[in-house]
């Protein structure tokens, strides 16, 4: 009884404390890691709205186009962000994309496997690669930067060597015919909400082809995956025990260990996450293109990390957000496509990407100082 009254008492104390500053919602928002990326995304849209508003960039077709690019990058950026919050890097994401691609294509084309089995095979390999990355980092205590850099070369090399060994070339075409009637492939290859676009087309609200079908046929699978992953990972980070463990593992792995967080298991699972995300990326692209290319995904790991950083992830771990990485990917995707609609030479995109990242890192650093400094 006494403890109860005491707790109520202390609670009222807590509420009536004269030092209790009224924290406005705006201030709460300002402390969120994704704020910079959200602001950046809004600025980018305003910029292109002014510069390229009348060019077709913001037609249904144009929007889906830059959303598709953003979403593809976003899928791996979100996984990279989760891993970065957990305190590690994965530089093998790009190579994993190439590797996953041929893991689907070679069994399907050369060994006569059904497509769905090849896809499951690719995801199994991803889990293995991720597990291997994770166990190596956790067991050896080496920086993940080095371990996954090694994996970057190993996977890319193996992809090239194996593909040439089995097929005698570096590309494996002919997948498109296998998609139809496959029980799994549609998850990665079907446009959604086609009826909306058909309806919009019939109302003459969006551009049509000469045959009367709408130019934009539906929401690409990448966008659906992207949104689903963004929601799932944000929920994990904010609302689950595992999410708290991710922050703890990245923030202070010894401390986390001391209070009973299974840091090793958390990190391994996050490495599996990046490899699986790379495989989702690869599956969507391979099925869309109808062919696997051994060089697919080159340098994607760096774009993913850049998007995560723009999204507010600290390079030292323990801080960041999945939704921020999603906004980071939208910024890069929108600019990389939007630049075609402007008079600016597309060569300048990489300059923008680098500058954006630099600004983000400086901004993040400032935020981190603000968060960790005693007031």
């Amino acid at each position: 009884m006494s403890t109860k009254s005491k707790s109520i008492e202390s609670k009222t104390d807590f509420n009536q404390d004269e030092r209790l500053k009224k924290v406005s919602n705006l201030k709460v928002l300002l402390n969120r890691p994704e704020l910079g990326a959200l602001g950046g995304a809004i600025l980018v849209f305003i910029f292109f709205g002014i510069v390229a508003g009348d060019t077709g960039m913001f037609s249904a077709y144009g929007i889906l186009n830059f959303l598709d690019v953003s979403a593809n990058l976003g899928i791996i950026a979100i996984a990279a962000a989760m891993l970065m919050i957990g305190g590690e890097f994965d530089l093998s994401i790009g190579s994993m994309i190439g590797f996953a691609g041929i893991c689907i294509a070679i069994p399907a084309i050369y060994w006569g496997w059904p497509l769905w089995m090849s896809i499951i095979f690719a995801f199994s390999m991803a889990v293995l690669v991720g597990y291997f990355n994770g166990i190596l980092v956790v067991r050896t205590g080496l920086p993940s930067f080095i371990v996954t850099l090694a994996m970057l070369f190993i996977l890319r090399g193996a992809t090239l060597a194996l593909t040439r060994l089995i097929t005698g070339r570096t590309q494996v075409p002919g997948l498109r015919v296998l998609i139809e009637n496959d029980p799994i492939a549609w998850i990665f290859a079907t446009d959604s909400f086609k009826w909306v676009f058909t309806w919009l087309g019939s109302m003459n609200l969006i551009a049509l082809r000469t045959d009367g079908s709408p130019l934009a046929t539906g929401i690409p699978p990448s966008v659906i995956w992207f949104i689903a992953l963004a929601i799932l990972t944000t929920w994990i980070l904010m609302k689950t025990r595992y999410g708290n463990w991710i922050f703890a593992s990245g923030g202070d792995k010894n401390g986390a260990n001391n209070v009973g967080v299974p840091v090793g298991r958390v990190k391994i699972s996050l490495f599996i996450g990046t490899a699986v995300a790379a495989t989702i990326f690869a599956t969507i692209q391979v099925l869309d293109a109808g062919s696997a290319d051994t060089m697919r995904g080159t340098l994607k790991e760096l774009e993913a990390i850049a998007a995560a950083v723009v999204g507010g992830c600290l390079l030292t771990g323990g801080y960041g957000s999945a939704i921020g990485a999603a906004f980071g990917a939208i910024i890069f995707g929108t600019v990389s496509m939007g630049i075609f609609y402007t008079d600016v030479d597309t060569d300048w995109f990489k300059v923008f990407l680098g500058a954006m990242m630099l600004i983000a890192v400086i901004f993040n650093n400032y935020i981190r100082r603000k968060v960790t400094e005693s007031k």
Binding site: K6, S7, S10, K11, D13, F14, D17, R19, L20, K21, V23, M238, K239, T240, R241, G243, N244, W245, F247, A248, G251, D252, N254, G255, A256, N258, V259, G260, V261, L314, G318, Y319, R368, V371, T372, E373, S374, K375
Partner: protein, 263 residues
């Protein structure tokens, strides 16, 4: 005598040829604060790790609530209620007070397989617990990095108590703190003891230890120089024992010599 909550009898620990601890004995009752004093290299860290279950003692026994026990891992020690708060506090500055408080032991809600972190409950408990020790967390979702060193120390101790500590092992809780902050932490330690916890306070600062301790064990070069009740020993005596008495005497003589020569 079974009125001791925990007894560490003749604990020895060897690392190869190095004798890190030899025949260290400590006994604690509920509500008692024992200060473990020792200079750097006296074996304090090894002893803490032995108490926390990180090291297994090579000789000696640990008796908890009248039963002999053996720790295979730090978790075993934690499970029976011996909680160690290390100097690094196991706090993540970038995470919120609540998320730190429940780190690794998050309260859950919801149906099986879809259990989520009950953040409202966690916020409430964290704010309540911190309020009880007089620390006003303006917002339990604020980052721990914004708290002062003393507040962080209190958070770590409060967390250990909330999760069922019966014996609290505190590693240098005041070493990085200013005078005021240190006194806040010491006050909290006394309060915790008065609620029935046994506290082992490890420090090299006699001035912090003497006012709060009930008994004092001095460690020197891996050996216990004995345990003394407060009434049996003075602050000065403790200080001189800790530094290995004669060493300070020697220093005094040398300094006198230097002064004589220079003047």
């Amino acid at each position: 005598m079974s009125d001791y909550l925990v007894q560490f009898n003749n604990i020895s620990k060897f690392f190869g040829k190095v004798i890190a601890l030899k025949d260290v004995t400590m006994k604690l009752r509920k509500g008692e604060i024992m200060c473990l004093l020792g200079d750097n290299g006296a074996g304090k860290s090894t002893l803490i790790k032995t108490l926390a279950g990180v090291h297994k003692p090579d000789e000696g026994e640990i008796i908890f609530e009248g039963e002999k026990i053996v720790f295979d891992s730090p978790k075993d020690a934690l499970d029976i209620g011996i909680a160690t708060v290390y100097q690094d506090l196991a706090l993540v500055p970038l995470m919120s007070v609540t998320r730190n408080f429940f780190m690794g032991r998050e309260p859950l809600k919801g149906p099986p397989f879809l259990k989520t972190f009950d953040i409202e409950k966690a916020n409430r408990i964290a704010a309540e617990r911190m309020g009880q020790i007089g620390i006003d967390v303006r917002d339990p979702s604020q980052a721990v990095g914004t708290m002062s060193g003393g507040e962080r120390q209190c958070l770590a101790i409060s967390r250990a108590i909330y999760f069922g500590a019966k014996v609290l092992v505190l590693d240098e809780p005041t070493s990085a703190l200013g005078v005021h902050q240190a006194s806040v932490v010491l006050k909290y330690i006394v309060k915790a003891a008065s609620q029935g916890l046994a506290v082992i306070l490890i420090t090299h600062n006699v001035h912090h230890a003497y006012p709060v301790g009930n008994s004092f064990t001095v460690l020197n070069r891996g050996k216990s120089l004995g345990t003394y009740e407060k009434k049996d020993i003075s602050r000065e005596k403790l200080l001189s024992m800790m530094a290995g008495g004669e060493e300070l005497d020697k220093l005094e003589v040398e300094l006198k010599e230097m002064n004589r020569v220079s003047s």
